[in-house]
Symmetry: C2
Subunit: 443 residues, 2 copies
Amino acid sequence: MKETKHIAIVGAGLVGSLLSIYLAKRGYRVSVYERRLDMRKHLIEGGRSINLALSNRGIRALEAVGLAEVLRQNAIPMHGRMIHDETGNLNFQPYGKTGQFINSVSRGGLNMVLMTEAEKHGVEFFFEHRCLGVDFAKTELTLQEYEAVKHKSFDLIIGSDGAFSAVRGAMQFTDRFEYHQTYIEHGYKELRIPASDSGDYLLEPNALHIWPRESYMLIALPNPDRTFTCTLFLPFEGPSSFEQLNSKEAIQDFFEKNFADAVPMMPTLQEDFRDNATASLVTIRCYPWVRNKTLLIGDASHGIVPFFGQGMNAGFEDCRVLNELLDKHDDKWKKVLPEFQELRKPDADAIAQLALDNFIEMRDLVADEDFILRKKIEARLHERFPDKWIPLYTMVTFRDDLRYSYALETGRKQKAIMDEVLRRPGIVKNWETINLEEIVNKL
Amino acid sequence: MKETKHIAIVGAGLVGSLLSIYLAKRGYRVSVYERRLDMRKHLIEGGRSINLALSNRGIRALEAVGLAEVLRQNAIPMHGRMIHDETGNLNFQPYGKTGQFINSVSRGGLNMVLMTEAEKHGVEFFFEHRCLGVDFAKTELTLQEYEAVKHKSFDLIIGSDGAFSAVRGAMQFTDRFEYHQTYIEHGYKELRIPASDSGDYLLEPNALHIWPRESYMLIALPNPDRTFTCTLFLPFEGPSSFEQLNSKEAIQDFFEKNFADAVPMMPTLQEDFRDNATASLVTIRCYPWVRNKTLLIGDASHGIVPFFGQGMNAGFEDCRVLNELLDKHDDKWKKVLPEFQELRKPDADAIAQLALDNFIEMRDLVADEDFILRKKIEARLHERFPDKWIPLYTMVTFRDDLRYSYALETGRKQKAIMDEVLRRPGIVKNWETINLEEIVNKL
């Protein structure tokens, strides 16, 4: 007989919806409270990215509830980065070995599949219910539905309500709660590349397109309807910034100067630029994630920037790890909750850092000679010593058996070794004949 | 004619009350909203330190509104630190030169004087008014008085509502608001040393007493009623911690072992320990401090730990600096607000760091031979070159003409120089004959 019977989940986003399936399958009564309307019945306003990169960690978490295959069918594989330089030249950089790829999926589509699946398992969704507060002693939510405010108590509350979590907001006022929210100087704006007149993709669909321009970048991910969603990442202020793009002419000039090959594919550039919000990019770090019988999960406990494509994957991995701990401790939440936060916090911190680091790589280094040589040598090392030298991108994206904290730590060691290798005289010419074994043994 | 006429101040603590006087004297209509009861009519529950160290920055800010003399009469000068070692030996370390001292003042007493003075200048206080929210576009407060919620708009709102500021809480949900709250591993608990049977001080009154024990410490500050307020700073968890002091025996043993000379002076140790809360110690950093026509000030914008005795002094200095900017810009708040935050933020960050650093000095170094020698050499340097080598403690505490950020930076340079001096062979013996000019010229 389980002590915990009725679980409230706050937030019906990707993580909350997947978690509700996991918990319902374990036999819990699960009620999900969502501030917004049911996106299956209403068109929900934007403000979040339209498509996301689903990779191995996310897929593994979906497999455990039998959903990986369904989603794979609606995903578009991206096998590498397609770099667009200033003159329009293309350079394809594979993400890993043949067969290793990430997947462009629709955020909304995935969310709806998860909610519908959850309902099949008996999960109840309550939309237009805003969490106003949490009583951690009573495990009680204060919920607002239209003008009515009600209090409901549960055996357990889980806050999966995102980077601006109301559950965490309540926790922040409990004693000794460490909390950090920090923004990068860049914002982002979503733009669009439509399908061609004949209904085809205007760019190679099986790649993530990047126009790296050092202090800023444009990227594009494919959608099943043959369009691409582009995202411009640009500082809010400064010489090249959103602040400067304050007229149609300034926008047009900026795009023609920097993304000349993309401009002819963006007929609605001006309208998209005007209509779509410029959004900010936050990193959230906090601790503890547990107060009494209330737990934070996903972005609510570790909001990260999107540059490693790991936000959703990390949140899904949270669900998988939590489920494994429930197996291990026979659903004894008193053991599971502290162990979950202790186990998972270093990994959350690691992916937050990796995501920040990868922005520099994407916007700056991918077009850099030194970086390309480094990647070539690392690919050789991995080919020759597949278990000993695993490139950082591979560890994070394709190796769901390795923890993020391990990936960060190992990646730092690799970087120090490679820094030394790249300082060697003549390396540009003789890199194909260097002693790989000697390098791998430094690790 | 001033554009800004009616100013709301949220929080009638020390900073809010002083600020209200400054603004009323400039001709503004000032309304102060305070969550708690009027402390002049009701006994307010504790949770905050009973006495505080008022030093030059605070005094200067009080002088500008004609209150320094009144307060000096109710203050007890503390000329230095009285160090109590494990065996009960005393060692007095002066804070500065003769005539340089800090002042033990009653938090409540000072607050009441400021409120009463403010009312003389026409400031209106509204007690039992809780700030529920702020509309930054409308410069509007949502205020709760008992069961009634009302909205009131102003020309300007200033949040001086402390480390757990409700005004800042609202600001935190505005875009790109940097916010960090971080706790040290130590908590504190206030205890008491009464007057002697004959009504005298049981310890030297003109000193700040410290029992430094490396990972923790006890301190005592004198009160006008001949008692001392003691504060125990101790980790929450670990081998020597509040967690371990879970029985009368454990408390008694701990005090007898560590503070043997204090125990006979603490007849209510057990009751005080049981009745007084163990409080935590937070540092708050945020930015910006201004949203439209709402400003944060004092602990609301820069909550710091108490180890440099500068929390109140920094908040009072905020008021003085703001007032000077109003003079400079002829009360044009549009110029004053951005300039205030840009000017003051580096100083707030500096005193936050200095306060954290000084905890290590107080609990650990003041009893250290190396530290004492360092202080002796620095005193010589200051004596010989009074304008060139000013000890860090003096810059922070007695030199209200020097910014905190200057003190931090100069203190770091001094530390690097002194580290080298103390590594010199034979320094313990020959310190009185070293070349002071050579040292000062390194700065």
